[in-house]
Symmetry: D2
Subunit: 307 residues, 4 copies
């Protein structure tokens, strides 16, 4: 046989599960999109169609729903850990499980527009509005021994309206760009960070707290960096996370440079003093890099976004 089977995996993608927890009249909500990918001893199903080693993807979907009841959803990461452990330990032919989860955040309507952000006493504590800002993501991989937990976020759109320059770059025969000494810097942050935690004998991070603090460091670093290039801003965001969050060994960013071009108003007898911009769609610059704790091994894949 001149051909052979290479790496393969299968599972159910995008199982949407919502869990409501009732604490009297106060409700809590967890809203996840869960994708399972299993690897193992799967040559036969590819060669002959024998499903003797195949746990149906429908079953992986059912397991997501059953586990939401049996274990609750403490955090996306903890929920993924329960799922990954189950598939690897309960199914002989399964040698590795990878669980990817998107989480959608909800605010209480009761607290909307309240200056204190405390709940209004008149508005029920079971009414929610979807936050809509970034989407939180996680990926749990388990091979029966070693855990790898990568967390992150996407679709977090940010802008600095000043304190950004771009000059001193290489010029070749195709270069027409002018140097800029005061420009808008805007991007839609996609980030993934890998935790040091890898074994059941180590204490597990508080995943929700870690997420909140990491996001805050990213936002603050974006805001507080006087930027000479988006690469520099990226490195500042990454190194601030590595320096401040001991539980994180590696972080990777994909940062589209969402160009805002100054409109030429001269034909209309007007002067554009860095006021009026075109928000452009395509093309866009795309800046990608990993920042690592000294000595850590890079393991986050290169492509966070895909054409």
């Amino acid at each position: 046989m001149p051909t052979m089977l290479g790496q393969n995996q299968y599972g159910k993608a995008e199982t949407r599960v919502v869990r409501i927890t009732r604490d009297g009249r106060t409700h809590h909500i967890k809203d996840l999109n869960v994708s399972v990918a299993l690897q193992g001893d799967m040559a036969d199903v590819h060669y002959s169609g024998s499903n003797a080693h195949v746990l149906p993807t429908d079953t992986t979907k059912n397991t997501v729903y059953a586990f939401a009841k049996e274990y609750g959803i403490e955090s996306a990461e903890q929920f993924g850990i329960h799922l990954a452990r189950h598939f690897v330990t309960s199914q002989g032919p399964i040698h590795q499980a990878r669980i990817r989860i998107e989480e959608y955040a909800w605010d209480r309507i009761a607290s909307v527009d309240e200056p204190s952000h405390e709940a209004s006493p008149d508005t029920p504590a079971h009414s929610f509005v979807r936050t809509g800002q970034e989407t939180r993501v996680t990926q749990i991989t388990f091979d029966g021994e070693i855990w790898e937990v990568i967390s992150g976020l996407k679709d977090l759109t940010v802008m600095n309206s000043t304190d950004s320059e771009f000059w001193g770059f290489v010029k070749d025969k195709y270069t027409t760009l002018r140097e800029a000494y005061d420009r808008i810097l805007a991007t839609e942050i996609s980030a993934r960070w890998r935790h040091h935690w890898s074994g059941d004998d180590e204490p597990m991070p508080d995943w929700d707290d870690s997420y909140a603090r990491t996001k805050r460091h990213i936002l603050r670093a974006f805001a507080e960096t006087y930027s000479l290039s988006l690469q520099q801003t990226l490195y500042q965001m990454g190194s601030r996370v590595i320096e401040n969050r001991g539980e994180i060994d590696e972080i990777r960013f994909a940062l589209p440079n969402k160009h805002h071009f100054l409109v030429d108003l001269a034909p209309f007898g007007l002067k554009n003093e860095n006021e009026i911009y075109i928000a452009a769609d395509r093309p866009y610059g795309l800046i990608e890099a990993t920042v690592l704790r000294d000595g850590a091994e890079p393991r986050i894949p290169l492509d966070l976004t895909q054409l």
Copy 2:
């Protein structure tokens, strides 16, 4: 000639304009997507291709950018009024202008995670994060005499995790749905409201304040209504707006019923006590209605969303 030309309009759609206003080191941002549609004496261009009456759509785009400089962007509505007046009064063949605007909201990064929601003194006041919740929309129509200003929002996703029932409905031979006495009610609100204001001699509403208060009434009515049907919730949202906002004569909603189905956990020996739900994509119920001030004439079009 057995055929004739009917209603027609043309213009530039989706001109993306961002305006930065600098108040020392504190910046303000307006981020709009502007679409212009012009009507008038346009038979010739359709019949013969003569462009003698046609102001190019490229010019309407330029006008959006120039007006952002000349008039600023006080509010989406006020900006649309400047544009509509210009096209109708400066171009003889143009008899009516319709300006549609989407507005994207930004928060200051400085205030993110601050308990007081006050800006952190360390973080620059020119750093923003896109809110991501709803999109604000407006449509200005002007025929040289009468103004019609419709404002609204879309993509505002809300959920009540209890206080919703659905029973007592018609059963025919195709009915299999069970009655529900405690269900999730979730929807993605799309709403458009028409203002009473229609003439230059009347005092104009404070558009931004009106928007903020109307949105708040919609959210609060959604949260505070014990719902026997989504239609009832819709009417409560609409009538609360009409009763509390004297500047608004008419409001229309398109409310997809974003179904959350209870998962049957019995096959796994588990009991689902209104905890674990499937968030379904399609199909979805779609509930649409107009609520009017007594005596007002309905003028908002029937279809806010389109298949």
Copy 3:
């Protein structure tokens, strides 16, 4: 009560139904997305939440599936007519039904790449590849007496790489566009046409044949018109349909002008002789108009696309 209920409708949107018909080993496929909107005596459900007049949207979904079995799917239009008649005649409180259908086309894999476009004898006649070109749409409205059948298409992207000019337009102080004597004309056609047929006593058109011929007229008119403006091309497409298809009284187009800008290659010492273009996303011109049979009443809504 200072507020009142205006126009309202409800139903299940986007019910996806696929029907396979087996003619021995040769299969046929119909692939539809069906949305039902019902109107009638629905004040109570809005005012009080009483569902006594409400046929659940779940039932309208069930009816779509049951009718696909009971009546088959001869064409999207004929299927919509069965559904609309059922809801209006079987439910007292329902006074009007509007059925919207999208249809996705499939080709046989057997005929792909065959020079004759005949099926290859080796390849099974139950294997299909989705066409992917335009989406066919229809909207059936029935009030118990009068039928209105609007058919159409969307997402049909076309381009003329020459035989298009644009000059002689109005210039005002915001005009910077240069006149063009040889440009690309590209658009994504969205069209809706209304049939003359409105009563059960009249012979019904052959809907599939009518669709195929109308699409062909639109494509040919686009290709064969030497264009001085997109409005002129629109009118040529519309009038050719009205002149050649006696069953159609009215047609409306929404044509985004998908701009292709000549790249300025002069800075690189190159000459761009109408060869190299930027395909731009936003903004785009948007040209909309109705063409009518002389004496026909316009009834297709103005907005085919929505911001």
Copy 4:
């Protein structure tokens, strides 16, 4: 310094270029979406913001347009090879270039509906309709010595309405799926194949011919495989390509199992004899695998699609 920079790359993404070639009145069109990613000696720009090694992404965009004129666009692969060679050989700090291209296909309107698929003599040969079926993709990587050319396609939706079974699978306590002996098998094919060609001294494949033949093998294998699992169908598609296309060493597929569920019509007194199906959106099975020529090294990344 406790942190260090890991893998990084940058460039302009999604440069949209259309090239028209004029052969008298007959025109030819190439319609590409080009993304450039460059790697090299880029530590400084991350650490200090020095752009001394940075060729601006704006320049990479300009280069795409200039090369479309200078070299033409023979095929997506050949065009990417010109670009990659240029960046690596002309810029000292650049050590590797990766060019990704999407190509959109256009048919001549003249040949639409012609039984012979020959052009109609009446219809101009500069009028096109976008095919809309699959999108062709390629990725060229060059480090100054070794070439890697991965080609592929995405969004090719196919269906077998019979000759598919699924049974004999593992059952655990969460399994409720029934075995199926005649089901619909539908998927949206995403495939990437890597060519053996890697050096300038080897003869280059005819990229367009190779693409057309590979796509044909994939479609035929999908259609002609009596399927006991989607994994089996995947392997048949892959091995047929490897066996028949000597220029290809490796192919990877990501195949969402687009579920079509039989509707339960029993409540309506109807029998569903494999006729009426629900086309479901989410969740979906996702089957991924690589098929290799014996002895070849796997180099296509695992994730073709991303959550």
